[in-house]
Amino acid sequence: MSPSSKVWRLPKDIDTDNLAPGAYMKLPVAQIAKHTLESIRADFAGGVKPGDVIVAGPNFGIGSSREQAAGVLVELGVRAVIAPSFSGLFFRNAFNLGLLLLTCAQAGLINEEETLQIEQQMSDLSSNEASSGTHEGAHDGAHDGAVHTFHIVAPSGLRLECKPIPDFLMQMIDHGGLLNVLKYKYKQN
């Protein structure tokens, strides 16, 4: 069980220009963060508290490859973004920067200002298959099949299932992003 997190509800199709507006892209992330979502939710950047979560509609993060779109949310202390779907490019950027994204088909059932719990479990789906060499579902032994499963628990008792996340991506969350993972690796070598 995790500490509880307050919800900021956002609509569908939140794009990277909403998150990190182009006009401020010259500036460091801490400065861009002051303008996060200003075109659609002016109270967000000043009001969000570390540990809060965003719950959004489908297609969160569409648009640019600018990772500052995820970086500003890390900077503001957002604990996770929960949405029915994400831009694939934003998804990679978020994990590379240590921002947890939870794909939850029923995210629409969560309300503004609710306080959520995020439950996490690790399960190893592939251990039998991997060791027997049949490679069912995962040809490549490179990424073993270990996944983390997540549930979101709302105050009403509502318990929503999220799409499992492969262990190698969760390592990035645990280390605080790819840069730290690489630092750890380089130190070991």
Partner: protein
């Protein structure tokens, strides 16, 4: 990139029966050193080329590389393009551009293209792409490389750091969504219209980070610049890549850009880099013959509908620019409409040719003069207003633009309204001062 053991990709069983493979699967398998891959597999691929620009590149990579004490794995596989902050408009962009140039020298990068055009256009123009490659770009429109039969996709700066220190990247093998275009486009209708129509139909994330492949008779008839427009705006479909199987049109383009293509290589490339019959794919059928020019209303490319569905829409700016809208063929298409005519007094027509080389060709053949004599103002060969990083539109501007995205606040203040359309439609609308079907000028 971090948990895998180096030899693990070789673990595919040798005696496993080979399944028909999509073009995407073949490209990934080759880069992963595997005979074949299955949809959903997560594999580690060797990167053949990494492209980054002045915004996503050195200014972000340098501090991270230094904190790791690491070096670029292979500078010959890196291309740096200065296109987002040039020409510098203020002290901050001047500083970014200077830092980029200094770092390029310090890293001894052999491939630097500085203020000579937009990355997605100059990369193939300088012969950096060919079928069979796996490439990454520090820009979301990197799927443009798919027009050349390369598995190319956009990544952020931190992931680019991972690539430049390891030479590798992880990929989850995508499904293939086949956009099958039959028929023949009408005069005045172009790849941009096909793309806006597909985005309206599938939505901005309808590609679900899978592989889109453009095929069918209407696609085969397109020249390379038009094919690049399709692959480029795969980004607006939310797919990871937008592939087109190479054919003679591809080979002709490549032969003009690189000298190393032997007949054997060409033969093998044409035999290899296409989706196998019966490979797994979801087919979407479209008819090019009945397609009208498409226009995307503010503030999303997915707000596209046929031009006939619009009422009067007046504009004070017409913008022909960007990798998706100001390549040589885009300029030619616009010139066909503008030649011998004058832009409306109520409209400012701005043209930012996507590459300096293509601009020279346009000048030599008279295309450029047709544009300027009609009243166009030429801007520099850079991302310009499309990126919104420097030059931008003014409060309450109403713009018709050949660019890729019309998000609120992207190309100027939130009050700016941007309509997306083909270069032909932008040109015709510049003549009238209001939305105008380019076919009216092409009868």
């Amino acid at each position: 990139m971090m948990t895998q053991d180096k030899n693990s990709n070789l673990s595919t069983l040798k005696n496993e029966k080979l399944q028909p493979q999509s073009l995407a699967q073949k490209l990934i398998a080759k880069s992963a050193g595997l005979e074949q891959v299955s949809v959903g597999d997560i594999v580690t691929c060797k990167v053949d080329l990494a492209m980054f620009h002045d915004s996503s590149g050195p200014r972000r990579l340098k501090p991270m590389l230094e904190s790791l004490g690491a070096k670029i794995w292979d500078t010959s596989k890196v291309v740096l393009v200065l296109d987002h902050y040039v020409p510098a408009v203020d002290a901050q962009s001047t500083q970014i551009v200077q830092l980029t140039r200094d770092v390029a020298k310090q890293w001894r990068l052999p491939n630097v293209i500085d203020s000579e055009g937009i990355c997605h256009v100059v990369l193939p123009e300088r012969g950096h792409l060919k079928p069979g490659m796996l490439c990454v770009g520090g820009d979301s429109h990197s799927p443009t490389g798919g027009a050349f039969g390369a598995y190319m996709f956009g990544i952020g700066a931190t992931e680019m750091l991972g690539v430049v220190v390891t030479g590798e990247i992880w990929v989850q093998v995508p499904k293939t969504l086949c956009m099958n275009w039959g028929g023949t486009l009408q005069k005045g209708v172009s790849a941009k219209d096909m793309m806006l129509h597909m985005i309206a139909k599938l939505g901005m994330n309808g590609g679900d980070y899978q592989a889109v492949e453009f095929c069918g008779q209407a696609v085969q008839k397109l020249n390379m610049q038009e094919r690049m427009t399709l692959s480029n705006m795969s980004a607006e479909l939310g797919s990871q890549v937008g592939l087109i199987a190479p054919d003679q049109v591809t080979i002709e383009y490549l032969k003009n850009t690189r000298a190393d293509l032997s007949d054997e290589w060409v033969k093998e490339a044409l035999e290899t880099w296409h989706s196998d019959p019966k490979s797994e794919c979801e087919v979407f059928d479209f008819d090019a013959s009945t397609l009208s020019p498409q226009v995307a209303a503010p503030h999303s490319p997915a707000n596209s509908s046929p031009i006939e569905s619009y009422g009067e829409e007046r504009f004070n700016v017409a913008y022909i620019g960007a990798c998706t809208g100001a390549k040589i063929e885009d300029l030619r298409a616009a010139a066909q409409i503008l030649k011998g005519r004058k832009v409306s007094n109520s409209v400012k027509l701005l043209v930012a040719p996507a590459s300096a080389r293509e601009q020279r060709i346009a000048q030599e053949e008279g295309t450029l003069q047709a544009l300027t004599e009609a009243g166009a103002t030429l801007l520099s060969n850079s991302c310009g207003a499309c990126a919104g990083y420097g030059f931008a539109f003014a409060e309450h501007d109403r713009v018709i633009s050949s660019t890729a995205r019309n998000f609120k606040g992207r190309m100027g203040p939130s009050s700016v309204e941007v309509f997306l359309a083909s270069p032909q439609t932008v040109a015709a609308s510049a003549l009238r001062g209001e939305l105008c079907d380019p076919r009216e000028y092409l009868v």
